[in-house]
Structure formats: structure tokens, C-alpha cells
Symmetry: C2
Subunit: 252 residues, 2 copies
């Protein structure tokens, strides 16, 4: 079975020009041509293209990919194994970025100032990246964008005042509850934790139980957050942490 450029381009999700380019630079030359000069790709070519796309996704230049793929010591399995490893690392890195974002969101909410170094910590050791179509189409005037903008992003000053007030009140209630000696995993504390989660979901972003416990961990693990909550009341950071966890476990 052999395929034309158009077909290959179609199910590989690249343009015909890209395939022409790969042919030009010798990265992927179709193993055959029709007598009229049409490119004909066979299954082996497709396998190579697949490898190319994975490595490209992982940020290698076409030159590097050529060297990698033409290494006689590495077979298909070795490539897959390698790609698996690199992908996993990349996911870990992106997860760190997600954490950093959650941190920044929370920091901004309570007004903690980040130093420039802190802002860029997560960018420690990588370079640009592309996402293209999907992201492009999403931004602009898609439904998802309007939805997210509808939910937040343009509150009035009064809204912000209300949000702050709500939060302040909530804080007072937590402190009062702590003073009353109620346990952090009791029903009242859990109720307050749930309110906190819903407050975030309503005004900021959808806060799942997972994200919420992530925040709770942050309150304890990060000295800036800990200092912030401890300055309100001694033991508050841990109390919040425990209440949020108890709540998440019960409801999830």
C-alpha cells in the first residue's frame, strides 16, 4: 500500500508543504515516485514520519531528528522508549508550571508580592514551545473563551469590594471557630472549607477538590503563605490545611 502526499499530510495533520520540505532536506524522502513524479509514501515512510513528529513535539530541530533517526544503534523500540521518557519529563515540567500558576493565583488573591526570581523559577531550564491551531482557534471568539470571560475577568469595583468582604467575613468566622476550640476535621470547619472552595469557584476559577487540597498543602509548605496566615492567627495555616483536607476527603 502506498499513499500520496495529500493523504499522508491529511492523517498526519501536517501540510503538503511540510512534507515537501522534509523531502528537500532529505529528512523524509518518499521511498518511491510514480513515473510522472508523484511522491509515493509507503508504511516504512509513515513510521519514520511518526517518529519525526514525536521528536518534533519534544522540541528537537529537524537536523537533530535526522541524526537521531539515522543512528544505526537505535531501533523502533529504542525510539519509543526514549520518547516515552522525554514525554514524561515534559509532563512533569508542565505540572510544575500548573502548580506555579496556582501559586501565583493564590498569591495575588491574598496580596503576597512575588520577587522576580520567584516568578521565573519554573522557567529555569527550557525554551520556547508551540501549540498552534488548537490554541489559536480557542483564543479569539470561541465559545470557551466567551464562557470563561463571562464567568470572570471583568468585575466592577463593587464586585471586587464584595469579593473582598466575603473573604474577610469568612476569615473572621474561621478564626472564631478556632477560638471556640472546634476541631479542624469537624463539621463546622469542613463547612467553612467548602465555602472557601465555592468562593474560589464562583469568583476566580473552577476549584476542584484536588486543586483545593493543593492550595491547602501550599499554605503549609510555602513559608510565604504560612507567614501570611500565621500573622492572622497562630496555627491558622495548619487549621485551614486540615479542614480543607477533611472536607475534600468527605465530599470526594
Amino acid at each position: 500500500m502506498s499513499y500520496t502526499v495529500g493523504k499522508v499530510a491529511e492523517f498526519a495533520g501536517v501540510t503538503v508543504r511540510t512534507l515537501h520540505h522534509y523531502d528537500e532536506i532529505g529528512l523524509l524522502s518518499p521511498s518511491d515516485r510514480s513515473r510522472t513524479g508523484y511522491r509515493r509514501y509507503d508504511d516504512a515512510d509513515l513510521l519514520r514520519l511518526q517518529q519525526i513528529m514525536y521528536y518534533r513535539e519534544l522540541g528537537f530541530s529537524l537536523d537533530e531528528i535526522a541524526t537521531i533517526l539515522d543512528d544505526p544503534h537505535a531501533d523502533a523500540q529504542a525510539h519509543l522508549r526514549r520518547q516515552h521518557e522525554l514525554l514524561s519529563e515534559r509532563i512533569t515540567k508542565l505540572q510544575k508550571m500548573v502548580y506555579a500558576i496556582e501559586f501565583a493565583m493564590e498569591a495575588e488573591k491574598v496580596g503576597i508580592q512575588l520577587t522576580p526570581q520567584e516568578r521565573f523559577e519554573v522557567f529555569g531550564d527550557f525554551d520556547p514551545d508551540k501549540h498552534a491551531e488548537e490554541a489559536k482557534e480557542r483564543w479569539g471568539d470561541t465559545e470557551a473563551y466567551r464562557e470563561s470571560m463571562r464567568r470572570a475577568g471583568r468585575y466592577t469595583k463593587e464586585d471586587w469590594q464584595r469579593i473582598k468582604d466575603e473573604m474577610t467575613q469568612w476569615g473572621e468566622r474561621v478564626v472564631a471557630l478556632m477560638d471556640s476550640g472546634a476541631p479542624a476535621d469537624g463539621p463546622d470547619a469542613m463547612q467553612l472549607a467548602e465555602e472557601h472552595r465555592q468562593h474560589i469557584s464562583q469568583w476566580y476559577y473552577e476549584c476542584t477538590y484536588e486543586i483545593h487540597t493543593g492550595l491547602a498543602d501550599m499554605y503549609l509548605a510555602d513559608e510565604r503563605f504560612e507567614a501570611f496566615y500565621e500573622s492572622i492567627k497562630t496555627g491558622l495555616a495548619r487549621y485551614l490545611h486540615d479542614a480543607i483536607h477533611a472536607n475534600a476527603i468527605m465530599r470526594a
Copy 2:
């Protein structure tokens, strides 16, 4: 507090040239200059740079980033929320790719032929990507690379024969165990599951319990794998699945 290009470049992990470029195209112009013409970046500039880098990581062009960041309707929180969402989607996509790789590795091992469409399914809707330094440095002659190459990638024909034999033997023992009526979550089945995992770890790639259960799920969920194992013996796919899961639960 204000910073020079060099400082900013340093803790943002970009080159000075990049910052010059962003200034040229008006994406990020330092809010001040010294009387001798030196660029001076303040905290607001850094915040903007941080946003730029996140969006860049997410694959937006500099043009698009400019439009996005200059949207008066979106504040810092809105950007963070949006970035969080996009990052999560991206992670999901990469996880799908990891799954696809695991699938391809397993398929190649047992000799299942993939159609071109199947090969590219995961590339459905995105474009190039870069990873740069980290990946570049890793490839070539780093310790990690040599390590992985040492472990696999250049077996002799005899090695391959041994691997195949080992696998065949193992398969026969599983079938025999099934015939004997032993339960899939019994100690013998679990032992065979563990051997399977170690076989993969030894010859192919490090197969964690998590990956192993992923494979088990694949045996049931994917009709090609199911057909493959069912053709050996009816009920084998599920038997393997259950044994691997039982083993993973016990040992983990």
C-alpha cells in the same frame, strides 16, 4: 527596584537578544531607560514578561500574545486562570501521547500491525513544539543517554531470540495456569504477572506498576490487543488484566 537587560535575561532564562527583540516589536518595552540609553525593567515589566513566557510556552505567536495581553478586559487573574486551563489541556494531550507510545511499544512487541491512521491519531490537532536546551543537551553524549542505550537498543539476534523464547515460555505457563483453574488474583498468577513486568523492565523499558496496569487495561480496552490474546486462549485477556492488577495492588 529596576533591572538591566542582563539581569532580566538571567532569571527569566532567555537571552538578551530576545529581550531586544521584544522591545523592537513593541511586545515588551522597558518602562524606563537610563540617560545613557540602558534599558531598565521594573516589576510590572517582569510580570508582563512572565505572562509572555507562559503564553509562548503554550504555543502562541508573539503577535497573538501582544493582542492577548493588551486586551483591556483581561486582568492578571484572568490570564492566570486561562493559562491554567490551557496548561491542563496540554498535559492531557501529552498524556494521550504517552499512552499512544505505550500502545505502540506493546503492539510492536507482540507484532500487531498499526494502520497509518492509528499511528497518527494522537496528532489529531496540534502543531510543532520546542523543548530546546534541555532536550538538546540530553541527546548526544550525556550520561542518561548512554545509560539508556546501554540498557537496550542494541541486542544481538541471539538476544532477541532469547527474549522471544522467554516470552513464549511465559505465555505457555500462563495458559497452563488458567487451565488448572487457578484464580487470576491468586499467588501463582500474581507471580507470573510480576515476571511479565520484570521481563519488560529488563529488556525494553522500566515498567513501573502504574505503567504495567496501564498495559493491562489496554489488553481489555483495545480490540486489537484483546483479539490477539483471545486468539491464544479464550478469556486470556481478562485473566492477564486481573492478574496484573492484583499484583500491582499487592506490591505497591
